[in-house]
């Protein structure tokens, strides 16, 4: 059920949070061009989200300072914009920036995977949501699951950990200490013979608790698996167990991820 003519101005919140695609953005900026009050609202909400953005202070590594200064010295500054160019201010920068950034993107691959994995994780959460148009009952369960994962991924204290799995592949964990929950994914897990299965554990002073089975599919991400009930000192463990899983780990963990709690 959608209203016949959605008010273009409803998009103002999504717009200032960059939660729009290019088409929405262009449409909204056309709307803005003819609406003084709307521009004023955008200005106030931008200040608001700027404060939300400024809650995390993370001093860069010292060497980045000189590196940035040297890069600036080589970078020609743009002249002031001419008055008749419209719309003024924010949106125009976007085009300018596209051109300037490429040269700066010369980083090693090594640590990138962390973000890629997280993004994949997020993407899966989204896809998970997108696949739900089938059965109504499944939809509710799946929505609750996606919502719980979203809560972890969006938690203010969320941190991300990655580690190599001894037998191949990489595990990625996004965790909220506060919520005592985490989302686990794995990439490149070798597919096991039929009689065996991967089993995830929380292992710590409180004992070893099964968090469920993880199925490897060739070339695909395993998970995401939502794990609740984290206790202090827990690590995430992964073992190979007989099909159906075990009550206690029966083999040496191929992954033991310290959660730093």
């Amino acid at each position: 059920m959608r209203s016949s003519a959605p008010d273009p101005h409803d998009l103002v919140g999504a717009y200032v949070m960059d939660a729009v695609d290019a088409g929405d953005r262009a449409a909204f900026e056309r709307h803005l061009a003819g609406c003084e009050a709307c521009r004023e609202e955008v200005r106030g909400l931008r200040e608001t989200v700027a404060r939300m953005a400024a809650t995390a202070d993370r001093p860069p590594r010292p060497e980045l300072r000189e590196q940035t200064m040297q890069a600036a010295a080589r970078l020609r500054q743009l002249p002031p914009a001419l008055a008749q160019q419209a719309p003024r201010g924010w949106s125009r920068l976007r085009t300018v920036w596209r051109g300037t950034s490429r040269a700066a993107r010369s980083q090693s691959w090594t640590v990138r995977v962390a973000a890629l994995a997280a993004v994949a994780c997020l993407a899966v959460a989204v896809l998970f949501g997108a696949q739900m148009h089938g059965a109504q009952t499944r939809l509710n369960a799946a929505t609750a699951h996606a919502r719980a994962m979203a809560a972890v991924l969006g938690a203010p204290d969320a941190i991300m950990l990655t580690a190599k799995i001894r037998t191949g592949g990489t595990a990625t964990v996004v965790m909220s200490h506060h919520a005592r929950e985490l989302v686990l994914t794995a990439h490149g897990l070798p597919v096991l013979p039929r009689a065996w299965v991967y089993q995830v554990w929380l292992m710590g002073p409180a004992g070893n608790r099964s968090a469920g089975l993880l199925y490897a599919v060739r070339g695909k991400m395993a998970g995401p698996m939502l794990i609740s009930g984290l206790l202090g000192g827990d690590k995430v463990g992964l073992t190979v167990e007989p099909a159906g899983g075990a009550r206690r780990p029966t083999t040496r963990p191929i992954l033991l991820l310290n959660l730093g709690s």
Partner: protein, 199 residues
Amino acid sequence: MNVRRSGQPADVAGLAGVPPPAADLAGLIGEVAKGDEAAFRALYDQISGQVLGIVTRVLRDPAQSEEVMQEVLLGVWRNAARFDPAAGSAAAWIMTQAHRRAVDRVRSQQSASDRELRAAVAVIPYDEVAEAVQASLEHERVRHCLTGLTAVQRETVTLAFYGGYSYREVAQLLGIPVGTVKTRMRDGLIRLRDCMGVE
């Protein structure tokens, strides 16, 4: 260092190296616009931590976040002459760019191929017991104001702003209509604005 200039009371000795107060940010951008490298250095000292903070929060990956932080600061250098104080505060101008670039990076990666991902995975150094890649923060006021929202307002705003999701994706994630997401984002932000006392 000619960092503290226009609009400041008489120079105080021994302030070299001390970041100027936030009110100076717009003044610094004015100096940067004229190619003043010392002013750019001072601006970097003042804002780079916050830029890296929000970029890391959205992107999560430290190496990429540093890269984006540098792009943002270089963008400020390059575009300083185009900063328009009438359109908003200097901090908002910079943080807007920081957030947008982080989100752009997230979106461009969503289309990165699986093959690329697997190739990247292959070069991670082995580490049996991994340590935390830290992210995060919290600023009491924003936190307090966020608690004043309804659950749906808070979820939509948080997923969009800190999670880097589009409003359509947020609608899918939460299983609520797109129209509702748009209005909750808007009224949620308005409530935050009023709670924070933004003019």
